[in-house]
């Protein structure tokens, strides 16, 4: 640790905590086949962020106050997710079309608002763009502690509602029939995903936070069929990606942290796709070869 300066350490710990939180929470999105809802959610935060900024200006508060911006992000993200669900439920359009339409229209609205902000003489919009691509390297110790708290909250909520979340992830129909309040559990889960997305935005940006929610969870799925193990592995993959990515980017000036974090996660995904014993390529083809030999040995061919 002698080699690592204070600033680097802060970024390292913050990115690790964010990876841990996003990896765990993302498991439920992937298992519920909702991976791309997080895509829509994160793109849809932009109009909320800019509206919050403009509201702040109008009210005379500093528009760049972080709680205000994050509240705006959360509100428009939630509206987007609810809109997708409403379109899916009330119209003949399928979920993919609903997600794509909502994602692009909300983001378009954000871009229009952003161009308004840039024309305002009083406004300093420099910080707002950081939300699109993230600014990991600019993390201060307060933010890192916020990310640490996020990881703790996520882990605690998952631990508390483990049974409920598991039911919802694997057999929603049964859960509803058995009298579980699936609507409310779903809402709690979406709240958790929104929280992670919104808090992670300014670290890795709104495109790459999607990767932290999807990739570690999809990676963990190759290694296990057990939810508890999957949560631990996904959290681990996320944390390692965050830590290694932040470290690499602090060593090499032209490696932007957010993108490197995602590339580490993507590499772990492809490595797992090939070597994971349970559902990886090698494991599966070894098992198939063994089965074939066993069948041939018994004289069953076909």
């Amino acid at each position: 640790m002698e080699m690592v300066g204070h600033n680097t350490l802060v970024v390292l710990l913050g990115a690790t905590a964010l990876g841990l939180a996003a990896g765990m929470v993302g498991c439920f999105m992937v298992l519920r086949r909702r991976a791309l809802v997080s895509d829509a959610l994160s793109h849809a935060t932009l109009p909320g962020i800019v509206t919050a900024f403009l509201t702040g200006l109008a009210l005379g508060i500093d528009g760049r106050s972080l709680p205000l911006l994050l509240a705006g992000a959360a509100i428009s993200g939630v509206i987007a997710v609810l809109t997708i669900q409403a379109i899916k439920r009330w119209t003949r359009l399928t979920e993919d079309a609903a997600i794509g339409a909502v994602l692009s229209v909300f983001f378009g609205a954000g871009v229009v608002l952003l161009s308004v902000v840039q024309e305002l003489p009083a406004a300093n919009a420099a910080g707002l763009k950081g939300f699109i691509f993230g600014q990991t390297a600019a993390m201060r110790s307060g933010e890192a502690m916020g990310l640490g708290a996020l990881a703790l909250v996520a882990a605690a909520l998952i631990w508390l509602f483990f049974k409920e979340f598991r039911l919802l992830a694997f057999d929603e129909g049964f859960a509803r029939a058995a009298g579980w309040p699936t609507g409310r559990i779903d809402l709690a889960l979406m709240a958790l995903v929104t929280l992670v997305t919104v808090v992670g935005l300014q670290t890795v940006g709104l495109v790459l936070i999607i990767a932290l929610l999807i990739t570690p969870a999809a990676t963990a799925r190759f290694w296990t069929d057990d939810l508890a193990a999957m949560l631990i592995i996904a959290g681990g993959v996320g944390a390692v990606s965050g830590g290694v990515g932040a470290l690499l980017s602090s060593r090499f000036a032209d490696l932007p942290a957010g993108a490197i974090i995602v590339l580490v996660a993507t590499s772990l995904f492809f490595i797992s796709l090939i070597i994971a014993p349970s559902r990886g390529l090698l494991g599966r083809s070894l098992r198939r070869a063994r089965l074939r030999r066993a069948l041939l040995a018994r004289g069953i061919t076909g």
Binding site: R92, L93, A101, S104, G108, T215, D254, A259
Partner: protein, 318 residues
């Protein structure tokens, strides 16, 4: 803002034409993505082309269009193949497979942008997101009478010519293969038994979408590409069950949104008394969303209101 003919012809007309044809190409091709429930392929493609564009620039060393478009097309193909491989070999659900692949490629693009030569020019991520509709200029015409001169039309900006050509190409391909495409969209099993390779047609659809997306990308940016691939087709879906009508309605919606969205962005604020223009690509996307939203509510047969009153009437009759 006073609107004189020379400014309109050299600034707004080329941008309007670019917006119109970008929207028409994407709307046309988007029908098949929406009908095949592949709408998010458009999303994935438009994020995944980023590394290709930057790599094209890094290899060629100039901001020339051809290498960048070649890079984008390569990246789109790589993305398509990788998504398919991850789905098949890894048995990963389609949404997660797309998510993993396109975010990975996007991250790669962000890293490439930060490398030496790419940094020095304005190949920043902004133009990838928003496009440069406002930067397409046609300096030749000075007044309305100039438009009758055919020699002048030969000086149309390259982006506009390119978008018109891609739209024509997409239209021709789709008209030639309309029967096959319709069959694969509505009954892939029947298509397979008839000896039509639905998998091959599917690849063709994704390839066509990539072509339209990349041609439109440079002018209008990635958000507008996603909006235009999905919203007009989804809107048309609410009005009809026939393929022909679906295509015509989506083209109408695409065209109206392209022209209307640009006009709103360029002239709307000044009509309200503000001396500014807002981002045109974003405004077109928002208009597409408004039209889709109104259609969801008001469409005669499949709209929410029509369905609700239909239910109420059936209830009253019973």
């Amino acid at each position: 803002m006073t609107l004189d003919a020379a400014t309109f012809l050299s600034v707004d007309l080329p941008a309007l034409l670019a917006a119109l044809f970008a929207c028409l190409s994407c709307a046309l091709v988007g029908n098949f993505l929406v009908l095949r429930r592949q709408a998010l392929m458009g999303d994935a493609i438009s994020h995944a082309v980023l590394p290709g564009i930057v790599a094209g620039f890094l290899v060629a060393g100039t901001r020339d269009t051809v290498p960048m478009l070649a890079g984008a097309l390569t990246a789109a193909l790589v993305a398509g193949v990788m998504i398919e491989l991850v789905r098949r070999l890894g048995r990963v659900e389609a949404g997660a497979a797309m998510g993993v692949v396109f975010t990975g490629l996007f991250a790669l693009g962000v890293v490439l942008i930060e490398q030496g030569p790419a940094r020095q020019i304005d190949l920043d991520a902004d133009c990838v997101l928003y496009g440069q509709l406002e930067a397409i200029l046609w300096l030749a015409p000075n007044g309305w009478s100039d438009l009758t001169d055919p020699a002048l039309w030969a000086t149309l900006p390259r982006q506009v010519v390119q978008l018109v050509a891609v739209f024509a190409l997409c239209l021709v391909i789709i008209l030639i293969f309309l029967k096959e495409l319709t069959l694969v969209c509505f009954d892939p099993a029947l298509a397979d038994t008839l000896g039509l390779k639905s998998g091959l047609v599917q690849h063709g659809i994704v390839g066509l979408a990539a072509l339209a997306a990349i041609a439109a990308f440079e002018a209008v940016g990635s958000i507008l590409v996603i909006a235009m691939l999905i919203c007009p087709a989804a809107t048309a879906r609410l009005y009809t069950d026939r393929m022909g009508t679906q295509l015509v309605v989506s083209l109408l919606v695409g065209g109206v949104t392209g022209l209307g969205g640009y006009a709103l962005a360029a002239f709307g604020p000044s009509l309200l008394g503000y001396d500014m223009a807002v981002n045109a690509a974003g405004s077109i996307a928002v208009l597409a969303g408004v039209i889709l939203g109104l259609s969801i509510l008001l469409a005669p047969r499949y709209g929410v209101l029509a369905r609700a009153t239909g239910r109420a009437m059936r209830g009253a009759a019973a």
